[in-house]
């Protein structure tokens, strides 16, 4: 059976998807990487505007493209945390991090941490953070690809995940950062076009202006302000007004800050700024990235308002037909006042449902669960459903699907790059096998990319529990581990390795524990998995930092953690109860806890650094050097005084 009954939609979707995929592959063949420089940082010669575009595509994931507008539509003001949180981080990047990291001039984030803190242990901790953050994130992307394929191209979800993964692998392994960068530029163009076309159509329909940002503050066709109309309609139906939220103010504050700081600390975002020619280009590039991101991020809240208003208009009090739901009558014959065709179509795939419980033949959409008849409402569908809701031509739907895939693939590629460079460059070449040649390193990077894709395929098909908490994990951990370590490394010359290692580890462990406790719950299996993760980390630390004649403390701890892990997986550890919202620390949700984790990491880093020896003098010189954009000017110390 055809899910959507629409042959044209399938045709346009296939056409757009195949064309764009062909485009990405052609670009990858044209932009092959020949050296490690090409592979990791695209030869340091990407123009700032292009890098801005690539960063925007890298940054905007399947979640930004497909889910965000829907989430805002049904949370109103509370959705602002994503809008401010996922854009404000670029100000921090441009002012505090990007130019200095570019001047530093290496390949990866663990590179900076390891060199600045003159420590293999710090480098390994950074590698572990980078891998964990990136794997959580990439599993979510692959899932998004699978869902888009299965809903629109009638392909099983497994096949969809595999097709997407193979395409990403093709250009990531072949072209490295160079291939990824130019594919991302193309993907940005596809995704922004696909997002704007339906937004402009909807804005014209609902407010009469083609610019969604103006439609957002404009009047509905009847001449009254759109937002105030929506507020009134929602309060009449028993909901909170759209422009008011239900979250605590402190939680809104904490989530926004955690997302901003987390953005600035995410490795796949940071490495994009290694690809531009100069430090000053890193600043400009962050500016361009935010321009390209802002186009989507200022349109999304408008799309959200249109979607919510349209939904209420067309669904509430509409005439329900059990025959149409069962598919025994032609849905194309449904008319004005009937529950719309798209509602039944999405009901077929289990993402919407309604039940005429009071038997009046109509559907009531209400806040009160006793009278509400919209029994299932998946907020993720709205960007995909909007073209149908607005009655737009079927090619627009195909375009949106291609856009969603572009968003997911571009982000997955950036993450794959972080994973492969963390393994080949930071772990293998810098820690485990120091004698590696460039050619061997390049080969390792490509093998690591293939291995990472296999894991991502598995995680996309069988999503582990933590994928649902991807936002909390990725941003919280980046905020609590990388951000303080990098920021202090640039702005405080006294910062030393002891402080950095203590700060990163504490931030990571405290934040991860809080999120697991409130999002997943420490059952015996989860405890065991955490212990095994710790065991592997300790083992790598042992091999990376061992010295002859010293007690192998890391190895001993690793064995203990390994045994705890196995007994946990076997179910011998206690199942601890999952935390409830009432027990949140200061009322801060797991999504916002990154803020607390970051403050703890800062406090621990500074206190530990102050009671341990200052870093060696060459570190001071290095920090001074990265603060000067020119590669030809250096700070003269004693030499200048002696002249």
């Amino acid at each position: 059976m055809e899910i959507f009954g629409l042959e044209p939609t399938l045709f346009w979707t296939s056409l757009f998807v195949i064309t764009t995929f062909g485009l990405y592959i052609s670009i990858a063949i044209w932009a092959r990487a020949a050296s490690t420089d090409d592979f990791y940082v695209a030869g340091h010669d990407v123009p700032p505007v292009f890098n801005g575009m690539a960063t925007a595509a890298d940054w905007m994931s399947a979640a930004s493209f497909l889910s965000m507008a829907g989430i805002i539509a049904f949370s109103g003001y509370d959705g602002s945390v994503y809008l401010m949180g996922w854009t404000g981080g670029y100000v921090l990047l441009a002012l505090l991090l990007a130019p200095y990291l570019r001047k530093f001039g290496k390949f990866t984030v663990p590179d900076f941490v390891g060199d600045r803190y003159y420590s293999q242990a710090a480098r390994i901790v950074a590698v572990i953070c980078a891998l964990f953050i990136s794997f959580t994130y990439i599993a979510g992307q692959m899932r998004g690809v699978g869902i888009a394929f299965s809903n629109f191209l009638h392909v099983p979800i497994e096949a969809g995940v595999i097709i997407g993964a193979v395409i990403v692998l093709f250009y990531a392994a072949l072209g490295g950062m160079k291939g990824i960068t130019y594919t991302q530029v193309a993907q940005y163009c596809v995704l922004i076009f696909a997002f704007m076309v339906p937004a402009i159509f909807l804005s014209l329909q609902i407010t009469g202006t083609p610019i969604p940002q103006l439609g957002f503050i404009g009047n509905a066709q009847d001449g009254t302000p759109l937002l105030l109309n929506l507020d009134r309609t929602l309060t009449d139906l028993g909901f909170t007004a759209y422009t008011q939220g239900v979250k605590d103010r402190i939680d809104v504050f904490a989530i926004t800050l955690a997302l901003m700081v987390g953005t600035a600390g995410l490795p796949h975002v940071i490495i994009r700024f290694f690809t531009v020619p100069k430090a000053s280009d890193a600043r400009k590039s962050a500016g361009w990235a935010l321009v390209f991101i802002a186009i989507l991020y200022t349109t999304a809240p408008a799309v959200a308002v249109f979607a919510r208003a349209n939904f209420i208009d067309t669904v509430n009090e509409s005439v329900w037909s059990d025959e149409a739901a069962a598919g025994t009558v032609d849905r194309g014959s449904l008319g004005e006042g009937d529950t719309p065709e798209w509602f039944y179509n999405w009901r077929d795939v289990g993402l919407l449902d309604a039940e005429d419980r009071n038997g009046d033949g109509r559907i009531q959409y209400r806040a009160d669960p006793d009278t509400n008849e919209v029994t299932r409402l998946d907020r993720d569908i709205f960007v995909l459903a909007n073209p149908e809701i607005g009655g737009l031509p079927s090619w627009v739907i195909g375009l949106v699907v291609a856009g969603g895939l572009a968003a997911a693939l571009s982000t997955a590629a950036g993450l794959l790059m972080v994973i492969s460079s963390a393994v080949s460059h930071d772990l293998c070449r810098k820690v485990l096998f120091k004698g590696m040649s460039d050619t061997q390193e390049l080969l390792t990077a490509r093998i690591a990319a293939i291995a990472a894709v296999l894991v991502a395929i598995y995680a996309g098909i069988n999503p582990p529990g933590f994928v649902a908490a991807v936002v909390a994990f990725a941003f919280g951990l980046a905020a609590a581990s990388f951000f303080p370590a990098i920021l202090l490394g640039i702005f405080w010359t006294r910062m030393n390795k002891q402080g950095a290692i203590a700060g990163m580890t504490t931030g990571l462990v405290v934040t991860a524990a809080y999120i697991v406790h409130f999002k997943i719950g420490f059952s015996s299996i989860v405890l065991g998995a955490c212990a095994l993760l710790a065991a592997v980390s300790l083992l790598v630390l042992h091999f990376g930092t061992r010295e002859k004649g010293r007690l192998p403390l890391m190895l001993i701890l690793s064995v203990i953690a390994g045994m705890a892990g196995i007994s946990g997986l076997a179910g011998y550890l206690p199942d601890l109860a999952m935390g409830t919202a009432g027990q949140w620390f200061l009322g801060i949700s797991p999504e916002g806890f990154g803020t607390v984790g970051m403050l703890i990491a800062f406090a621990v880093s500074v206190s530990v650094a102050l009671v341990t020896p200052a870093p060696p003098p060459e570190i001071r010189d290095m920090v001074e050097d990265i603060r000067i954009p020119s590669t030809r000017a250096h700070v003269g110390h004693d030499a200048a005084a002696a002249e």
Binding site: Y77, T87, N219, S630
Partner: protein, 96 residues
Amino acid sequence: MAESGEDHDIPENRFKAYWRENLTLMAVLLAIWALVSFGAGILFRDVLDQFSIGGAPLGFWFAQQGAIYVFVILIFVYSALMHRIERKYDIDDDQG
């Protein structure tokens, strides 16, 4: 300007003056960053919501639109002013 194309040392006190100017500029811009997002969009939004921009309450508008526009402007302003500071201290990267 003449020697900016060659390797050269800059005296420590000039470096410190440059860094102080950079930090001051950063502090001002980050204060604006916090003011439009955490200030206008979250802490003082109830006050601002008494006013409106078009058909939207002002505080709500800042949280969903205004803050983002200001963020973009802040980065380009920083980029331009920093470039001027770097040229003044002859440590810009115009020639590498």
